[in-house]
């Protein structure tokens, strides 16, 4: 009888994580990614990692931490861990107003300037690109703005993320109807190819984007990023504590051309933590330029 079985239900479905295990695990995550996890999120972490323990036939989080640090598969396990603790959900043409600022104001300005300088090269860094919607959206916008003249340009959209799983999906470039919910029909028609398993991004957009596994908090990693005209990093630094945020902002400063623009998520601000950038209010959103 259901009445009976409801009485027996239990919420505890994972082993218990001791406070020391929690501290060790979060210190490890913080060291490697810059993501800070407060102690009040302990049960959430227990729940998110509980399945992983089961799959690995481990009976405690202490064993899991050992596995993360010393197993021959520690690299791939760390990547799995990242997937579980970070949020990776975007859609095409999300943040429409901010993209409008990019399309109507920033992009035309840079194009004009580079044309004048006789240097038709454009480099954009999409930091924290998740499953690829953002860099592909930027690629589509470049096609829309430059039209056929795009062939005269050397364009590179450098798209990076710490999660290899999302990068696999990003490189595949196949999306379902839901991802395309905010995309206008004529854009879908022009830039996507309908396949039985979904909509595939058109090769003319795909070839603009270069996906790389990279940790934006680590200067050793970001060294590899080309000097960029524009950096997009939206809804990523929100997960970092102030010190790591500062580090990331420094990395962006190093990688942005002097006349370049930085785009952050709407409720993200760096004003309190760093004076390297100053904000500029444009109709539709805020962009940051070097101070």
């Amino acid at each position: 009888m259901p009445e009976l079985s409801i009485g027996k239900l239990t919420l505890r479905k994972t082993p218990k994580m001791s406070i020391n295990e929690f501290k060790e695990l979060t210190a490890f995550i913080h060291d490697k990614t810059g993501i800070a996890i407060p102690v009040r999120r302990k049960y959430l972490i227990e729940n998110k990692l509980g399945n992983r323990l089961k799959e690995l036939h481990l009976s405690s989080y202490a064993d899991y931490i050992k596995y993360l640090k010393f197993s021959p598969k520690k690299e791939s396990e760390f990547k799995k861990l990242c997937e579980l603790i970070t949020v990776n959900e975007t859609s095409f043409f999300r943040d429409i107003k901010q993209l409008t600022v990019f399309k109507n104001i920033i992009l035309p300005e840079i194009i004009k300037k580079r044309e004048k300088q006789g240097n038709k090269e454009l480099k954009i860094w999409s930091a924290g690109c998740s499953t690829g919607e953002e860099p592909y959206t930027l690629g589509i916008i470049l096609h829309e703005v430059l039209k056929v003249s795009i062939i005269g340009w050397r364009i590179q959209i450098y798209a990076t993320d710490i999660s290899p799983a999302v990068l696999i999906r990003a490189r595949r470039g196949i999306y379902n109807q839901y991802s395309l919910r905010t995309t206008p029909d004529h854009i879908i028609e022009k830039y996507f190819i309908k396949q039985p398993d979904g909509y595939k991004i058109h090769p003319k957009v795909q070839k603009l984007v270069n996906f790389q596994l990279l940790n934006i908090t680590d200067p050793k990693h970001t060294k590899k990023v080309p000097n960029s005209d524009i950096i997009f990093c939206r809804n990523v630094i929100i997960y970092f504590d102030d010190e790591v945020k500062r580090r990331v902002i420094n990395n962006f400063y190093d990688k942005l051309k002097d006349d370049g623009y930085l785009f952050l998520g709407y409720s993200e601000s760096i004003h309190r933590i760093s004076k390297l950038f100053k904000s500029q209010i444009k109709p539709g959103g805020i962009v940051y330029i070097k101070n």
Binding site: L44, I96, S267
Partner: protein, 406 residues
């Protein structure tokens, strides 16, 4: 036949309709009994939902209970699974969802719960550009609080208001008087006889008590004109009233707390959210999305996204409106009762807020249960098995009273 999100399907269910891909080709045929592989295929192919049937009645119950348990567990990911309060709450909600499923309740799919497709927008204020003080200052410059409120407040403060005085002030505001009468005549107040005048109501409920409830009701009106395309105001007030009702019922079990004070505190416990929403609508939306994506309670999302919480705003705005100290203190600490002067009241409100959030899960709510400490709960001396009857009583009252006060 039941419509079901792909991710909630349990192996053994049978397809009631063909499942087709984007190009119209048949992916899985009607009559197929689904196994793990099929379910994975559905999810990978981006099929949001399918129609399934279950053959045996007994089997169906088992399936539905499984689904209810899995579904409700998602909303309890943030809280201590070993807490007795949380465990009891969990069971109550599983049962509600289970009953709902039997009656055809459709559970929102994962991508809706986690707000995966909501467009983000820009805001007037940006983080770090204004703290709670600036927001409240801005708010106060916008609109003034209802006049009847201040007249009532003055009466309350004088300490010598008669039933006639109170009735006179309340009756000057016909809409308020009508609502107040309907409310006190509702089963929530369980008065011995039907009252037909405010004066009678004061006599039965008490001067201070009735005035406090009137203060709460007149405060609601202040927020009437908030545009609702971004935040569903009905849902907001339903949650608020739910907390008010729970608070009042729980208070009836607990010594040394006033039921009407608790009702008003419950009714207004999240006013900070309204102030936030009025002044920073898009940041509020961003916070809501953050909470859903990361499965954390709203207060924590606010802390991260905004750097302050709705309780900071409630405190400041209630101070400016000269709300009774007790109500302000309880409201300010409903997520952190240990810092409250009126600790029992704050704990009652925290319990009420948890109950309200948990019940909402069975009604399509999208936010996780915030949880609380068992040690705090124990201070109420409320037996854990009292929660079930409290929930039942609340569920009988909520919808009718909502119609009364809005």
């Amino acid at each position: 036949m039941k419509k079901m999100c792909s991710e909630y399907i349990i192996p053994g269910m049978m397809l009631a309709k063909d499942v087709t891909g984007l190009d119209g080709s048949v992916l899985l045929e009607k009559g197929k009994v689904l196994d793990d592989k099929d379910i994975k295929l559905l999810i990978d192919a981006g099929i949001d939902y399918v129609y399934v049937t279950i053959k045996e009645k007994e089997e169906e119950e088992r399936f539905l209970l499984n689904i209810a348990e899995d579904y409700v567990s998602k909303f309890f990911m943030y809280v201590n699974p070993d807490s007795k309060f949380v465990s009891e709450l969990f069971k109550i909600v599983v049962e509600l969802v289970f009953d709902g499923l039997k009656k055809g309740l459709e559970l929102p799919c994962e991508d809706i719960l986690r707000a995966k497709h909501v467009e983000r927008m820009k805001d007037l204020f940006f983080k770090d550009m204004g703290g709670p003080e600036d927001i409240v200052k801005h708010e106060l410059s916008l609109a003034s609080f209802p006049d009847v409120y201040f007249r009532l407040k003055k009466l309350l403060d004088s300490g010598s208001a008669s039933a006639k005085d109170i009735a006179e002030v309340v009756s000057s505001d016909v809409a308020l008087a009508t609502k107040l009468l309907k409310l006190v005549n509702s089963p929530l107040f369980a008065l011995a006889k039907k009252v037909t005048s405010i004066e009678q109501a004061v006599a039965l409920v008490g001067e201070e008590e009735l005035t406090e409830v009137a203060l709460g009701l007149s405060a609601i009106r202040y927020f009437k004109d908030i545009p609702s395309e971004l935040m569903d105001m009905k849902t907001f007030w339903k949650h608020s009233l739910s907390c008010g009702i729970f608070s009042k019922i729980i208070a009836s079990y607990v010594k040394d707390v006033n039921e009407e004070t608790m009702f008003t505190a419950g009714l207004l416990h999240d006013v900070g959210k309204l102030i936030l929403f009025k002044n920073m609508p898009y940041s509020t939306v961003e916070t809501l999305i953050f909470a859903r994506e990361n499965m954390v309670p709203m207060v924590e999302a606010e802390e991260i996204v905004l750097g302050f919480t709705h309780t900071d705003l409630s405190n400041l705005i209630m101070e400016s409106w000269e709300f009774p100290d007790e109500i302000r203190d309880i409201v300010t600490h409903h997520h952190s009762p240990r810092g409250a002067n009126f600790k029992k009241g704050a704990i009652i409100l925290q319990v009420a807020d948890n109950l309200a959030n948990a019940i909402e899960v069975s009604r399509g709510g999208k936010y996780v249960v915030p949880g609380m400490n068992d040690e705090d709960f124990d201070e109420l001396n409320l037996p854990i098995n009292a929660l079930r009857p409290i929930v039942e009583k609340h569920n009988q009252l909520l919808d009718t009273i909502l119609a009364t006060i809005l």
